[in-house]
Symmetry: C2
């Protein structure tokens, strides 16, 4: 894409009320726009990155057999009363609304609806019609959907928003063994996802409380000062334990090690065995091999692509701006023309497009200082500068955004280098 066509512009300052580093940088770079506290719009560059994260998650969910669906945000009060999750005293972050609030006519004025903060209830309820026999199990469904959470505080940018995209997968199995089998597959898929988006090194499978149906659940915690959690890392087995667990047992859950390192971290994903809590309450039953009626065993598995994106900014960005791993960068290459090289630069841009390179072309009529500073703020993995000086040597200057390493590359060898 030609940058002169892009409607967004960089800015020197983030809004004064924005305290999170991720949102400050993303706003300055024109990736997102702050609509209000905890509510952000994704602009072209930001949406490209968000969609690449979504694409990676989708591939890994499909690889473990997940079937993609799309539920609704509007939720029936009745369903959530069954599991005792409607009352604001029990769940304090509901956004609620009213059906036909303004229509006096049909007697439905004031009927309360919720805006989904999660989807166990409607999904379990919906599946009742499709599950009757053990032969229908196991399977899993997932969606990418907007969740609404009426958070008291929203000071972490896109890492904790009041309206945000979430991938939530739900698994349904006939018994614990079958459930554990899928749960382990999902755990491996999550590990792959965080590796693929560039957070593998900083992200730890973390033991957390399991609720009534299993000893542990697992969080995926990424170490960053911007996190709101504390985890305890075992240097011996590379496992982590969250605060709740460590308060009960002060040793490593994996190896019993006693020397644990305390870190601040953000929960970028979690997987949880739900047991039969929802299937019993909402009647998701099947008939087993011996003609006995049983509730399905469930699990839930969440990742917020926006939170992942914000975390990547917190972990990888530097004082000059954003730094994207190639797998999720809006564009792989930022081609920057300096000085009077219009025609040659355009030809190079076209040849990169022809070679299927995802390239943002800064063809703007601006100073070298502005263009290079913007390029660092925008953070594409590879910058290619073309200028009269580089052309003297039939070359371009290729810079790695993460390391800052620069080399002159002959025009003829650029495609191979990229």
């Amino acid at each position: 894409m030609r940058q002169s066509q892009l409607f967004t512009k960089t800015r020197k300052e983030a809004p004064k009320d924005e305290v999170a580093k991720n949102a400050q940088l993303l706003i300055r770079a024109g990736y997102i726009h702050k609509e209000m506290a905890g509510v952000y719009a994704y602009l072209p560059l930001g949406l490209r990155t968000l969609n690449k994260i979504v694409g990676i998650i989708r591939e890994e969910m499909n690889a473990i057999g997940g079937q993609e669906i799309f539920m609704s945000s509007l939720q029936r009060k009745e369903l959530w009363e069954v599991t005792d999750r409607w009352d604001d005293a029990k769940v304090d972050n509901w956004f609620k609304t009213n059906l036909n609030a303004t229509a006096e006519a049909d007697g439905k004025r004031g009927k309360e609806l919720g805006l989904g903060f999660t989807h166990e209830e409607p999904i379990t309820n919906m599946l009742e019609q499709f599950v009757s026999s053990y032969k229908d199990l196991p399977f899993s469904v997932y969606q990418f959907q907007t969740k609404f959470r009426n958070e008291l505080r929203a000071k972490s940018g896109i890492m904790r928003a009041r309206e945000f995209l979430m991938k939530d997968l739900y698994s349904f199995s006939k018994d614990d063994a079958s459930h554990e089998d899928f749960y382990e597959k999902a755990k491996q898929a999550y590990i792959k996802i965080f590796e693929r988006v560039g957070l593998g090194e900083q992200t730890y499978v973390t033991y957390a409380s399991g609720g009534s149906f299993s000893e542990f659940s697992h969080e995926f915690q990424t170490i960053t000062d911007a996190g709101e959690d504390t985890i305890y890392l075992c240097p011996d087995c590379r496992l982590a334990i969250n605060k709740e667990i460590i308060e009960k047992q002060s040793v490593c859950v994996g190896c019993g090690g006693k020397e644990l390192d305390e870190h601040t971290a953000v929960e970028v994903g979690n997987i949880f065995s739900l047991g039969t809590r929802f299937s019993e309450a909402l009647n998701l039953m099947y008939v087993d091999e011996h003609n006995k009626k049983k509730p399905a065993v469930m699990g839930s598995y969440g990742i917020g692509p926006g939170r992942v994106m914000g975390t990547i900014v917190e972990v990888l960005a530097d004082e000059k701006g954003l730094v994207w791993p190639k797998s999720i960068a809006p564009f792989a290459v930022h081609l920057v023309s300096l000085g009077n090289v219009g025609e040659t630069a355009s030809q190079l841009y076209q040849s990169l497009l022809d070679g299927n390179v995802e390239v943002l072309f800064d063809d703007r009529d601006a100073s070298a200082g502005v263009k290079l500073a913007d390029s660092e703020l925008l953070g594409m993995p590879t910058r290619v500068v073309i200028s009269p000086k580089t052309l003297e040597r039939q070359s371009v200057e290729v810079t790695d955004r993460a390391t800052g390493e620069t080399e002159l590359v002959p025009l003829t060898g650029l495609m191979a280098r990229l």
Copy 2:
């Protein structure tokens, strides 16, 4: 995909409270689930079709230079008060909610928010930071986003939902000439979209009232008894006129023809010149070539992919079930194995996958009657039956879902035939 793995099942009857043909068939075929009146979930087959419609629209919006973004559903009351669209007496289909409804702590209890029914206000407001000069214009932005409309009645299935996906594009130009230029491009893009999704023949560019800033706007109306509108068709110039216009002037807007045919139709898209209504109210100004401050000239362009999907069902489905055009079918081919042909059928399935054919493989252990009836209900464009009888002749039976035409095709020639 193997149908034995698909968690959805067909059903004989739609829910009793569902009166729309599109929703009845889509529910029976397991494409959608009714969450409540006017609110539907999309299941794997339905989501595949919805996403194909989205993909076609996205391609055509990109082709006219649209830049994709993603705004928020939660909306600030203040923005909508500026244009006098907050008051329920002015806009009666708002869903509204409250920030921190349950949080007593921060004094914000009860602060009202809206759930976007459209996005002119927040988009215009956001763009103020990016537009300053005539050099920044023209451009256009679009999104695929969930809209919430608190409709009094919701009896048309996914053709009129209370929560639904919408593609809304907004254009920004420096003057009327530049605006008209884009408006015409968008009109042509819309014509292409309806052709590509299979509604070209039944869909008419329809003259509608233009509001304060232009004589006409344009609706795209598809002729179907399931529609809620009446249009008047000119057989001479293939234009249509909506009821509002025809009440003012009873002749064809295009050629002055007086013999117009009355039809029931559904509005599947619309394009509208907004003039400077929103840019003046929300201060989207630019400085022109003569250093004069002027408001941007805007247009808005909407299509609801779910409504398009419902309309296609209304127009193309028959008494046996759904009938999808190939461009938007969940799968191009429905491979159905009858009788004891498991191994050969699996090999054929694999060879179709290897040939990049999108294929749903009915490998279920069910009767021929059930499998063939399900295949007609699901509506893939091409059905391939493999059975001991067809294999006697080293062939499969290929049936076109729309025409019912059937022929025996040798296994060796199937890929070429598809």
